[in-house]
């Protein structure tokens, strides 16, 4: 572990210590039933954050293979929540088997092989075409477009988008070789801190709802305060990234805005399905999907903006054995 990573992990640890101490004090001083409930939920969230931050921290230390496997598991758990709530038909069964057990592992295998070219098109091109092809074999026409779209969305949002996070480790950036783990940290830290800060600002001084029909808990004060605070904190981490100060601020803003809209989009889908949470796996937070909804849309955006403005332009080539097989 280099000294930069040590500092970054210390930052996370300190924030969690502050949150835990604050939660302890607030729990003691809470008077009304409503306040007690809010504090209890906040403390449950903090406890879950300790677990998630520990897993995330060990991931940075254990390297790219572990990171890839971990995000493959997150994708699996998120997609199962997405498909469980989005009722599918009997005719979708075999397609779903392909999605969970063939396409998802293949996608992460390509991340592990650092095969950028095929990774980029596996789900948007090959899986996109394969899913309606396989479904049409069942001969069932009822809900055809709805069903295939649900599964295509599930793969795009839960697998393809999320896998851009471990893919950050393979991105060749100018003057940044071997340091990509810190870029991954910057992304996940900013997106998650933005969620936390919007929650804190919203709970303390949120008044005007910003999207009352889609996500009644989101307020203008929470959103502006949360994003502002997060951009300020994340910008201070510019030294660990390939960005200079103002570039870091813009990138943090991009992550926050994409995260905000990603969260709204996933909320809209939840409301349409009549659910409040995607699941109940993480105490205080809901399901895995509730925790990563803001990452889903921000990850590919962040990846490609980094690649466009800061990349060396040299994408990792296909693995050697593939080139040998093709006779190149």
């Amino acid at each position: 572990m280099d000294s930069d990573t040590q500092i970054l992990l210390t930052v996370v640890g300190s924030i969690l210590v502050i949150a835990s101490v604050a939660g302890f004090i607030l729990a003691k001083s809470a008077k009304t039933e409503g306040a007690k409930k809010t504090i209890a939920n906040m403390n449950a969230r903090t406890r879950s954050w300790w677990v998630m931050a520990s897993v995330f921290g060990s991931m940075l230390l254990l390297g790219s293979t572990f990171t890839t496997v971990l995000f493959a598991m997150i994708s699996f758990l998120a997609m199962r929540e997405f498909i469980t709530l989005n009722k599918t038909d009997r005719a979708d069964h075999e397609v779903l088997f392909w999605a969970f057990f063939i396409i998802l592992p293949l996608n992460y295998l390509l991340v592990g092989m650092r095969w950028y070219g095929l990774f980029t098109i596996l789900i948007p091109v090959y899986a996109f075409i394969f899913i309606p092809f396989r479904r049409v074999l069942t001969g069932e026409t009822k809900n055809f477009l709805i069903s295939t779209s649900k599964i295509q969305w599930a793969l795009l949002v839960c697998v393809y988008s999320v896998s851009h996070i471990p893919m950050l480790l393979t991105l060749p950036l100018k003057d940044y070789a071997g340091e990509n783990a810190k870029l991954l940290f910057f992304f996940v830290f900013t997106a998650q801190l933005s969620d936390v800060m919007q929650y804190v600002w919203g709970k303390t001084c949120g008044k005007r709802p910003v999207a009352p029909h889609v996500s009644p808990n989101k307020t203008l004060e929470g959103t502006v305060g949360g994003i502002g605070t997060t951009v300020a904190i994340s910008t201070c981490l510019w030294w660990a990234t390939p960005f200079n100060l103002w570039q870091a601020a813009l990138m943090a803003l991009l992550i926050c805005l994409a995260g905000f809209f990603g969260g709204l989009v996933m909320s809209a889908i939840k409301r349409d399905l009549g659910a409040k949470d995607w699941g109940a796996s993480i105490a205080g937070h809901g399901g895995f999907m509730d925790r990563i909804d803001s990452l889903c849309f921000a990850a590919p955006l962040f990846f490609h903006v980094c690649r466009f403005f800061f990349g060396t332009g040299a994408d990792a080539p296909p693995p050697e054995w593939v080139l040998r097989f093709l006779g190149r």
Binding site: R80, I83, T84, T88, F100, G279
Partner: protein, 197 residues
Amino acid sequence: MLPSRVLAAATRLFTGVRRLSASPHGEGPAIYYANHTSHLDTLVIWSALPAEQRVLTSPAAAEDYWSTSALRRYVANEIFKAVLIPREAIKRDNNPLDRLSACLEGGRSILIFPEGTRRTDGDVGPFKSGLYHLARRFPHLPLVPVYLDNLARVLPKGTLLPVPIIVQAHFCAPIHFDEKESKQAFLDRAREAMLNH
């Protein structure tokens, strides 16, 4: 013991079913009855029970399937401690009710599927009379309705490929036998208790 615990934990991991923190009916044996939509139904209910109840529960299983190979016999007898019941050629000496009664008399719980067969349309079908006859033979035992949700999406009839959809096993409040009630009234009440999970 160990294979059972591993199997129950693996089932909970794959299907996302939650283990109950306490027995749904207090101490002692009970008759669990559930809706039947998938081959995984027995496994899921069995895995959702607290360990103390699980080791005391024998699911009913089809003899013609579970007695045909050494592996199936091992799974049925050693892991599930199942009551094997014949589906065809029922005679006086192999009456399934007698075998289930013998199990209950031995102080164990049983798990049965009163619809008699797996449904494919997502509805709960009419109950066959076996549940009534058992309840009449053991009027003091609690009858625990279990409603299974989403199981048909994990492993529907006609496929061997499971899909990791999250399932739920709702253990409802126990009902009891009432000797003044007619057979049909009892079966309707038992079915309602399961549907009002």
